[in-house]
């Protein structure tokens, strides 16, 4: 995590102070060095949550449920941050704080969907039921994402094309890569800690066996 934090600071300083200004957006484009890594990692984490949901349904192993909660929580945080960053960037470039662009709208929907699943999780106490319900809801929400994207895209679109080495000038690529890797390392560290916490809480919340069970010294004869 410390490595991720240090790399992130280095990447941000490079992007803010040393990278050249962009030809049309001037210095405002520097938001890109934190916005794009946030987007990549946020969507990666929600995809990871989807994979964890499928693995839990296939294996029934609670480790996957612990990872599901950790990746989903981190994914929601990054996606919410992404929406705020995008909104602030939209103001000087598009002249509005919000517009119904497919990518912005899909991200906002994602935040609501997965935040709702996290809220549902907190209200279910029995671990197996909670894990099952979360996994099913995650799969359905994830399957909905392409439908949201295509329906909004069909309706309206002004977001710039996806950033990749082919579409981004060489002068901008390195701080972008450093920040993307930095955010990934930082979130990987946090997710590992979070998954362990969830596992510990689940174990602590497990019901003790009944008083007359063998595990408590056997039935009294």
């Amino acid at each position: 995590m410390a490595v991720g934090g240090a790399l992130l600071m280095a990447g941000c300083l490079w992007g803010l102070l040393y990278a050249p200004a962009e030809i049309w957006m001037g210095d405002v484009y520097r938001i890109f060095y934190i916005h794009v890594p946030t987007a990549w990692n946020g969507l990666l984490l929600l995809t990871a949550a989807f994979v964890c949901a499928i693995m839990y349904l296939l294996k029934g192993d609670f480790t996957w449920d612990d990872r599901l909660e950790a990746t989903m929580e981190a994914g929601v945080v990054l996606s919410a941050l992404l929406t705020v960053q995008g909104s602030i960037w939209a103001r000087p470039t598009w002249g509005v704080w919000w517009t119904f662009d497919p990518r912005l709208t899909t991200t906002a929907i994602l935040v609501f969907a997965f935040a709702g699943i996290l809220a549902l999780r907190t209200s279910l106490k029995e671990p197996r039921r909670r894990a099952m319900v979360t996994s099913v809801a995650t799969i359905v929400a994830a399957a909905d994402v392409p439908l949201v994207y295509f329906s909004v895209r069909f309706w309206n679109s002004i977001h710039q094309i996806q950033s990749s080495p082919e579409t981004v000038s060489a002068a901008f690529v390195w701080p972008l890569r450093i920040n993307a890797i930095a955010v990934l390392i930082l979130m990987a560290g946090l997710i590992t800690i979070r998954a362990e916490t969830v596992a510990r809480l689940r174990a602590a919340g497990a019901e003790p066996p009944p008083l007359d069970s063998v595990l408590q010294g056997g039935p009294k004869l």
Binding site: I109, G116, L120, S123, V133, L147, S151
Partner: protein, 219 residues
């Protein structure tokens, strides 16, 4: 097949006896349309646009009240678990419930249609309107049934169901409103078919996926 028929008959009985869900959905839908009719200009264009949006928003919000009532009978005394233990397949249980929920929501939509006509004046023809209503409620009933089952044991289910349904409903909402507007005001670019196809894809995906997942959800 026999078990599935029995489940459908059971669900239809429950539907016809539980008027509470219908009334709540209808009342909420009517209130939303009334408020929308008062909140803008009275020109045909403005009324038509507000009407399409208000009708579908009213129906969707009302549907959360309707759907949350649809499992009440089975939740009482663990009747659903008993049915499954007796050999009813969870998948059959889901499809029966989702089909009857579709019928219920379609009826709510039909009940709201004359109110929409009276308040907003403009709208698609009866046949075209019925097609959009049918596809819209079909798209809504499968995920709605699944999510109602998922949240039914939560103490916050009345809050959680609309919150969790909202992301699912967004593509349906966009699609049905656009389809309704095109059918009302004309479709010179021929986009209507594409919107309806998108809605059909959504319905098919959810009817297949949600049916497959339901068994796990009630396990």
């Amino acid at each position: 097949m026999k078990a599935f028929r029995a489940l459908i008959v059971k669900d239809l009985h429950i539907l016809t006896r539980s008027r509470g869900g219908f009334l709540s959905a209808f009342a909420l839908g009517a209130i939303i349309m009334l408020m929308a009719s008062l909140s803008g200009e009275a020109t045909p264009q403005s009324l038509g646009q507000r009407g399409a949006a208000a009708f579908w928003m009213g129906l969707f919000l009302g549907s959360t009240l309707f759907l949350s009532d649809s499992f009440e009978t089975e939740q009482r005394d663990g009747a659903q678990r008993a049915l499954i233990l007796l050999g009813a397949s969870p998948t059959a249980f889901f499809y029966s419930k989702a089909l009857v929920n579709f019928v219920g929501l379609f009826v709510v939509g039909l009940l709201l249609t004359p109110i929409s006509g009276a308040l907003f004046g403009v709208g698609p023809s009866l046949g075209e309107g019925a097609l959009v209503l049918g596809l819209g409620t079909l798209s809504l009933s499968a995920p709605g049934t699944l999510f109602t089952a998922l949240v039914s044991e939560s103490d916050k289910r009345h809050l959680l169901l609309p919150v969790m349904m909202f992301p699912l409903v967004v593509p349906i909402l966009i699609t049905v409103v656009q389809s309704t507007l095109l059918l009302t005001f004309g479709d010179p670019m021929g986009q209507g078919r594409a919107w309806l196809a998108l809605l059909a894809v959504f319905a098919l995906l959810h009817w297949l996926l949600d049916g497959a997942l339901y068994g796990k959800a009630v396990d």
